[in-house]
Symmetry: C2
Subunit: 219 residues, 2 copies
DNA sequence: CCCGGTCTGTAGCATTTGTTACGCATTGCA
DNA sequence: TGCAATGCGTAACAAATGCTACAGACCGGG
């Protein structure tokens, strides 16, 4: 039984489909922070994250990173899909976090699966759709919200159940497409009004209501 | 022969596929500037533009519009696709420009076509992919370019062969997600350096080289 | 031809964001 | 323990953008 069958979609394939998949599948492991794909690389197949997590980001001319999104276990890299369906080069950078395991389904295999297997069709369409929505709301947010509002939203949406978000301010800045100093300034305000506390490499949310107000999120 | 067969994709369907399509297809006509879909509407099917052009945009809390993209003849509304595949409500506004004709393929019909007809699969994947790329480069641009650079790029990419772009400054502002005054200020600079001339409802590009420099486009 | 609506040109000020430049704290490693 | 690397806090300044306000130009319809 291949590793992808931990995920439901791949269990519901037809038998010939499963066979094709087993034949082609490759599994890679990446150590922490390793760059998996660079902008301009050609893409050999569809990437499915089995464990760990991948981070997709771009780099601005000034050298700042801006995170586009994450790929978590069971998810598939949509940009790579785009590339294999349209024969394009990969348009961003990808970095592995923690010990990440990734399954690679070679492009030709994936394309035949897509033609005949409804589960793969759904998976594909869904992945693309979700990305479109994320990107659109991201765009809308950038146009309509100020940085402090986006920050508040980000903190709320990503904090764990204990209200603690393990992330450095530089990383935060990268996610929001700005610089560390700006983030530090905004967080200082939040600390002043006791909405959050800061630690090295982490932020603890103390008064989510305040953040929700700032980020215009219904709580 | 139905109106969609002016476009190649729909001519390459299998016979049963064509039949299904003919059964379900509806064609609508819209006068200039009519709002076609409002945010939150439910979506009845896939929209294919036959003639004219649709404009998809959002509205910020301050009431400013920001254009997301256009749908031209032969293209399909990807957001509507998303909605019919995932049973969502439409997430933006759509407005018709000029006398636009739109074909509507009801959701169930489209879904069966998608399952069995490779041309429709390709069309769908392509439409989604292209949109993802557009949105991503838009995002990257917003992060990395300043407004004047984005403006220069926009002018160059959209001007006709005669170097004239028929658009009001308010519309320009909407496309770039800013306000008219800001656009006026930036254009004033361009006029001062004689890169462009302005008329009522139009802008004439006089020295594309200058704009290309500003917008960091290789000419 | 006049008038109301739309489009444009400008100015000045308020805010937000980016930049530069430090100093200190914490961590992990030699 | 000492040192280097990394992360954080802060200040002052520069630049970009947004907002308010107003005046003149142009257009089409009555």
């Amino acid at each position: 039984m291949n590793e992808l069958e931990t995920f439901e979609v791949f269990r519901t394939l037809s038998d010939p489909g499963k066979e094709q998949l087993e034949h082609g599948l490759l599994v890679h492991r990446f150590p922490k922070s390793q760059i998996v794909i660079q902008k301009g690389n050609s893409v050999s197949g569809a990437y499915v994250v089995i464990g760990g997590q991948l981070r997709v980001f771009t780099i601005t001319p000034q050298g700042n990173e801006a995170t586009l999104y994450f790929i978590r276990p069971g998810e598939i890299c949509v940009l790579a899909l785009n590339c294999i369906f349209n024969n394009l080069l990969y348009p961003a950078w990808v970095q592995a976090e923690a010990g990440t395991r990734v399954g690679v389904i070679p492009a030709p295999v994936y394309r035949t699966l897509f033609q005949h297997e409804p589960p793969i069709q759904n998976l594909t369409i869904n992945a693309l759709s979700v990305l479109v929505f994320r990107l659109m709301s991201e765009l809308e947010e950038i146009h309509s919200l100020k940085l402090d509002e986006r920050l508040a939203k980000f903190l709320l949406l990503r904090a764990g159940v204990d209200g603690v978000l393990r992330i450095t301010q530089s990383e935060l800045a990268a996610h929001l497409g700005t610089t560390r100093e700006v983030i530090a300034r905004l967080i200082a305000k939040l600390v002043a009004e006791k909405s959050v506390e800061t630690r090295r490499g982490a932020i603890a949310i103390k008064r989510p209501e305040e953040l929700a107000k700032a980020g215009s999120i219904g709580l």
